[in-house]
């Protein structure tokens, strides 16, 4: 039977659910990342399937578990938001045939099924539970955490991979057509770059609170600095370039007031985590990082893109869900790793959380203070997508590594890493989680 997306019932999307029933009973014990590339080079090993196998192998090794003990796989079958195989372009048969294939020849090239993974990792011969958390690692983490809590699996791989092809992002697929099926024509913004909605919200934010775009510069500079300390990241591996405030202010507009460096860069990368029960985690190689809660926002805006009011209402609601299920308050957060791809919505996430007492409209002033990994108020210590390339998962890896004291040069030193929050992608619509160095 083909793997299906997780049912809506596994997500904690409502307020008032109380403490998460599996709080502290699920732990992350292994992390594996593939190398990164700007685009696929056409070789089988660097295809999205190939790099996913590499990430999975590394996560299993990192955790020190026997593959025969793994009984679950939660992953995202989509591996892009904007790089599609062009219509009519010959299929890459050499790469396709280098692996055991499924019915879809582009499985492992521009998408990834659980069936493809299992067909190519014979050592995973005890997996009985597979399901999809679609869109992001954040989604897959919620699904895997709940699955382990519910007893659907005891040792579960969580996988998210991204491919990127030659040519321009967002120019193929539906965007290349003259017509669009169903009701998409009235549900989607037409003719705008992807960051347009966020740019509109940010413009309104600046107007409402009297802020300006250049106040984002310290955030961008800090994010890239942190990213360059993330050896798994694209910029650290390939182009160790900082972004100075002068660079940032000289960048061209993509959708004013969103400029080039407010956008993240698509890359090829895969990450896998190994989750297990708190009980099993105690006997494994790495220090367990416990999940205190997962929460979801499924809020639908009234129109095509959420207004600032809707954003603020929803980030506050998400924060209440996050804290309620984890049994913590904002004061308990050692640091935050909310999503940043687009940079201009990071402040919505952290103001909603009330990180370090922030209220709406205060984050850009907060960015002018010490937000580095060595200060008392670390902001995005992972560097996020701005610091490492588009993956939507650096934030989770960083939370795990920080709480395990394995973040290397990126290790936070101004705070004791005990409890952290990560998640995204959007301030309105996403999945979030709370990580802890201890189960209670």
């Amino acid at each position: 039977m083909k793997t299906s997306p997780a049912p809506a019932s596994v997500y904690r999307a409502a307020e008032g659910l109380g403490l998460w029933e599996h709080r502290g009973k699920v732990a992350a014990v292994g992390v594996g990342h593939s190398p990164t590339f700007r685009r696929w080079d056409g070789t089988p090993a660097n295809s999205v399937g190939g790099i996913s196998l590499e990430a999975l192998r590394r996560a299993i090794d990192d955790a020190g578990v026997d593959p025969a003990d793994i009984d679950g796989l939660v992953m995202d079958p989509s591996t892009t938001t904007g790089a599609f195989w062009p219509k009519g372009k010959p299929l890459p048969w050499e790469a396709i045939n280098a692996y055991n294939r499924t019915d879809d020849p582009l499985d492992g090239i521009t998408g990834l099924s659980a069936e493809w993974i299992l067909a190519n990792m014979p050592q995973l011969n005890r997996i009985e539970f597979t399901t999809y958390g679609v869109g992001c690692m954040s989604n897959a983490i919620c699904v895997a955490a709940q699955a382990i809590g519910n007893g659907r699996a005891h040792t579960c791989l969580v996988l998210k991979s991204w491919h990127n092809l030659e040519g321009r992002y967002y120019q193929g697929g539906a965007n290349a057509g003259n017509a669009i099926p169903g009701s998409s024509a009235i549900r989607s913004l037409w003719g705008t770059p992807a960051c347009f909605g966020t740019a509109v919200q940010f413009a309104e934010y600046c107007r409402k609170y009297g802020k300006s775009h250049d106040m984002m510069a310290p955030f961008i500079e800090n994010s890239r600095k942190n990213g360059l300390k993330f050896p798994e990241g694209y910029w650290a591996q390939h182009r160790p370039e900082e972004i100075t405030p002068e660079d940032y202010e000289a960048a061209r507009w993509i959708a004013k007031p969103a400029n080039l460096f407010d956008n993240d860069m698509p890359i090829m990368v895969s990450a896998a985590y190994l989750f297990t029960t708190a009980e099993r985690a105690r006997h494994l190689k790495q220090k367990p990082v416990y999940i205190l809660n997962h929460a979801t926002s499924r809020t639908r805006p009234r129109s095509l893109t959420p207004t600032l009011d809707e954003v603020e209402e929803d980030t506050a609601r998400t924060a209440r869900k996050i804290y309620e299920g984890a049994g913590i308050t904002a004061d308990d957060l050692s640091f935050e790793n909310m999503y940043d791809g687009f940079a201009l919505f990071h402040q919505f996430h952290i103001e909603g959380l009330g990180y370090r007492g922030l209220k709406f409209g205060e984050a850009l002033d907060f960015y002018q203070t010490d937000i580095s990994i060595s200060g008392p108020n670390p902001v995005s210590p992972s560097g996020g997508n701005i610091g490492c390339g588009r993956s939507r998962f650096w934030m989770h890896t960083d939370c795990i590594q920080q709480l395990q004291h394995r973040a290397g040069a990126r290790q936070v030193t101004g705070v004791k890493p005990e409890i952290a929050v990560s998640g995204g992608p959007m301030p309105v619509g996403g999945n979030y989680m709370v990580w802890s160095a201890t189960p209670d």
Binding site: R39, T244, D247, Y248, R252
Partner: protein, 127 residues
């Protein structure tokens, strides 16, 4: 200063990086030596790229080339107002981000392969 066909003309060349220079990501067909030689011949040279300006400067520094300018993609018009030349070229690999931008700023545009075919690129005209 360019010398050929009995003329002396000052030529300014703006180089895109990614997809244009061999150093780019993806690599283009123009070697860094193309830039080095042009500068030796008296051309005004620099880069106009989406890379951070500090990263552009660091790249030129790594190659020991002291460029006359390093700017973002939308700043070509400023380059034109800063340097007096008889001809302004921008060499790049994108219709929208190079050709259109160059033409809007009053630059002549060259694809990388067209730059390689230019007489001023040929050694016989340089020496």
């Amino acid at each position: 200063m360019e010398r050929y066909a009995g003329l002396r003309r000052t030529i300014l060349i703006s180089f895109d990086i990614d997809g244009t220079l061999e150093e780019g990501d993806p690599p283009g067909i123009l070697a860094i030596d193309f830039v080095r030689e042009a500068q030796k011949d008296g051309f005004v040279v620099g880069s106009c790229s989406d890379r951070p300006i500090s990263a552009q400067r660091a790249m030129w520094e790594r190659h020991g080339i002291e460029v006359d300018f390093a700017v973002s993609k939308h700043m070509l018009a400023e380059v034109k107002s800063q340097f007096s030349a008889d001809v302004y070229y921008h060499i790049g690999d994108r219709e929208d981000l190079d050709k259109r931008v160059a033409e809007q700023a009053g630059f002549a545009f060259l694809w990388p392969h067209e730059a390689l075919a230019k007489p001023w690129h040929k050694a016989s005209f340089r020496r």
